[in-house]
């Protein structure tokens, strides 16, 4: 089991964001989390990444209780890509990627950390940007830098909060192919995606969220049944047949 979340609730005071969530994400698979804006996806991902405290509920990652991990152990297991990152100082791309190695470094990074950084930049295809100031990059390029940072960390599970949000078409395809490749190599990936069609083509398993609840698609039916998506997104949806599957369009 990659992730096992049981009876998780979360909120700020009166404002409850997650209601008694129970879910599983299989190890070695690409699980996609879908839902409307404000449905609690990002909060859920942050709690699963150990960045917000899990007060009410229980979370297991690769069979281990997340509440009992030290921060170094957690960083060795879980990589997390946030939705927004506002840079302040014009660090070079390679310097930003190198910070992914923090849990392996005592004072300053060593040769191995630099090698892992090079490898990560190479995998993501941003080696040509390495000497550029991070602040001068486009939103999509920054996103790729942060992905490389997660890879340099060498985690076993990766949580991505809208990894495609600023990427152009070709970079989207490239990042998705990279994710697939990581999953084939045994990593567990859970990602929030916005486009059901992308999710449909690349994802292995699907989770739907609405107003802080997990929506269970009826087992007998295909999760891509238009009625499930209509319920999740509160939008009328039409399906179009494509290569033996179906694409969805909001109308």
């Amino acid at each position: 089991m990659g992730f096992f979340v049981k009876n998780l609730s979360f909120g700020y005071g009166e404002n409850i964001i997650l209601h008694n969530i129970t879910l599983r994400a299989n190890a070695g698979r690409f699980t996609v989390l879908l839902g409307k804006n404000g449905s609690g996806k990002s909060t859920l991902i942050k709690i699963m990444a150990g960045l917000l405290p899990c007060k009410a509920g229980y979370i297991e990652v690769l069979g281990r209780d997340i509440g009992k991990l030290t921060s170094t152990e957690r960083a060795g297991l879980i990589g997390y890509l946030s939705q927004f990152h506002t840079p302040i100082f014009p660090f070079l791309v390679e310097e930003v990627v190198l910070t992914g190695r923090a849990s392996y470094v005592f004072t300053v990074p060593g040769r191995k950390d630099l090698e892992k950084t090079d490898e990560a930049m190479d995998k993501v295809g941003i080696t040509h940007l390495r000497k550029r100031p991070y602040t001068e990059l486009s939103g999509g390029e920054r996103q790729l830098v942060m992905v490389a940072r997660v890879l340099a960390q060498e985690p076993e599970v990766i949580l991505l909060d809208e990894p495609l949000s600023h990427l152009d078409f070709s970079n989207q395809a490239r990042l998705l192919a990279l994710i697939k490749d990581l999953v084939v190599k045994g990593l567990t990936v859970v990602a929030v995606l916005h486009d059901p069609n992308t999710a449909f083509f690349y994802g292995d398993d699907f989770l739907f969220m609405k107003d802080g609840f997990i929506i269970e698609p009826q087992k007998s039916k295909d999760p891509w049944d238009a009625s499930t998506l209509t319920e999740v997104y509160d939008t009328r949806i039409e399906t179009v047949p494509f290569r033996g599957r179906s694409l969805v369009m909001p109308i």
Partner: protein
């Protein structure tokens, strides 16, 4: 070749500068040739013809100038390293010991210590310096974090409160002590002595060494709390590990030399302009260049006029316009307010 050349300049600059600074001063009894003569004879252990002159040279060079040069250098390093660390820690290029209220807090603590003979100077400066930074931070803290502008506003408020308290101490204390306090708040090095060097050297060396060890982690912290936590460091713990030594060295400087304004803000920027923001480079350069900077300014302050201008006035006059320039520039660059 070029980066190598740069490094040589930064790291080789301090030593010759310190030696040259020993020759600089308003004394018209001892001139440069006397000092060179004395130096050559001391090195070669040859007898000195004029014993009285030798005594005079030694008194001025070893008793007056050397402690002052060392004090100027160490305080310049301390304020620069402290300012650079605060900027990384708060992810805010506009903060410094002065802006965060640290200087006025430490000055207030030190003024109390100067007024009441039983209280120790260094610890009082440190405690109130830390209190001031803590207050500025908590004034600015919201659930969404700390914004650039609210931190500066917090610092201005805290700074104002401690300046008012400092004025109150000045008002209540007796006239003789008042003069000491006022002179000292202006920030000056003219009464530098070996005892001041001794009292500040240890805390400053220790704090700088600590922050030097933290240099790479400051890069991680500077990316933000969530990004720090995601890679396995505890941002709250790391911040304290930077905040405490940074406050320690800045308040140790305030305790011996008063408020030397703007060095902690402007010099880290000059350093970053030369090295880029990577703190594994800025920390060592801050030590070498920060010390050299204050030493050069101090050399001017004690020679440019027949009377001595307090160095704090000098640095503020240079740093003030520089801060305005930075503020303008960052308001254009940073979208985050």
């Amino acid at each position: 070749m070029k980066p190598f050349f740069k490094q040589v300049i930064f790291y080789a600059l301090p030593l010759p500068l310190i030696v040259v600074s020993l020759f600089v001063g308003p004394s018209n009894v001892v001139n440069t040739s006397d000092i060179i003569d004395w130096l050559m004879r001391s090195i070669s252990f040859s007898p000195v013809p004029d014993a009285q002159n030798k005594q005079m040279v030694e008194a001025i060079v070893l008793g007056v100038r050397l402690p002052r040069v060392l004090l100027a250098f160490s305080i310049g390093s301390a304020l620069t390293v402290s300012g650079n660390s605060f900027q990384a820690l708060f992810r805010n290029p506009l903060v410094s010991p002065d802006i965060l209220g640290l200087s006025s807090g430490a000055a207030f603590g030190a003024a109390i210590a100067l007024s009441f003979p039983l209280l120790p100077l260094q610890p009082m400066a440190f405690v109130f310096g830390l209190l001031a930074v803590g207050l500025s931070y908590f004034l600015a803290l919201t659930r969404k974090g700390v914004s650039t502008v609210s931190l500066i506003l917090g610092g201005i408020i805290v700074s104002g409160i401690f300046t008012a308290l400092l004025t109150m101490v000045q008002f209540l204390t007796d006239p003789f002590k008042l003069q000491t306090i006022v002179h000292w708040t202006m920030g000056n090095l003219h009464n530098a002595s070996w005892s001041k060097v001794r009292s500040s050297a240890l805390p400053i060396l220790f704090g700088i060494a600590w922050l030097f060890v933290m240099r790479w982690r400051m890069n991680v912290i500077a990316l933000g709390d969530e990004e720090t936590k995601a890679v396995g460091l505890n941002p709250e713990k790391e911040k304290l590990l930077i905040l405490i030594p940074a406050t320690f060295i800045a308040s140790a400087s305030v305790a011996v030399a008063g408020m030397i304004g703007m060095v902690g803000l402007a010099v880290p920027h000059m350093v970053r302009m030369m090295t880029g923001p990577d703190n594994t480079k800025t920390q060592p350069v801050s030590i070498a260049f920060g010390g050299s900077f204050l030493l050069i300014v101090d050399n001017f302050s004690r020679t440019i006029t027949s009377f001595e201008i307090p160095i704090g006035i000098f640095t503020t006059l240079i740093g003030g316009p520089f801060f305005i320039y930075l503020l303008k520039k960052s308001l254009m660059v940073c979208r985050e307010v």
